[in-house]
Amino acid sequence: DTAVSQTPKYLVTQMGNDKSIKCEQNLGHDTMYWYKQDSKKFLKIMFSYNNKELIINETVPNRFSPKSPDKAHLNLHINSLELGDSAVYFCASSQDTSRKFYEQYFGPGTRLTVT
């Protein structure tokens, strides 16, 4: 069974479009994250939710809006896509954000290409 799943795995779209990436975890974790990995493989956190509450919101353009309908799901909606948004987006989850020991389990990533 997949622990953290993301859909779609690949997304090709044109500038100006709006798109969503979905993430689901079946680990019973309380905390979920979105990361962006750029073309140089640098990974940076974007958002974190704990029990549907936003707890980390890094310096990310307003065009990016996360939504957590329940603690097992965290979606990422991106408005007015730009070329610079092309990257791999990873969803992750962990048991409890206050327990820094707990590893984060990552999804397979979504490769977003904006043309």
Binding site: F42, I45, I56, K100, E103, Q104, G109
Partner: protein
């Protein structure tokens, strides 16, 4: 500010040999955790090993071990008996209030 530095963009090693990947970090926190993650060509991020800052004993997971030098803020990863399947990007990461990654080291294991 928290930072993680991996000074080796690329490394290579022959199968069955030992290789050490370097990582240094900076934080003013006393309570933190350090991780090494592996990202093979499949893109999946996989935890290799973790270290609690308050534990002096170095963590070990089978062929993987760390050399944790808290005063020097150094956290290197040693891979013994390297295997072809170890070929991947390796990321050092520091967790204080959020997980911060280094820029990664691309490791190639040759037959």
């Amino acid at each position: 500010a928290q930072t993680v530095t991996q000074s080796q963009p690329e490394m290579s090693v022959q199968e069955a040999e030992t290789v050490t990947l370097s990582c240094t970090y900076d934080t003013s926190e006393n309570n933190y955790y350090l991780f090494w993650y592996k990202q093979p060509p499949s893109r999946q991020m996989i935890l290799v090993i973790r270290q609690e800052a308050y534990k002096q004993q170095n963590a070990t997971e089978n062929r993987f071990s760390v050399n944790f030098q808290k005063a020097a803020k150094s956290f290197s990863l040693k891979i013994s008996d390297s295997q072809l399947g170890d070929t991947a990007m390796y990321f050092c990461a520091l967790n204080t209030d959020k997980l911060i990654f280094g820029t990664g080291t691309r490791l190639q294991v040759f037959p």
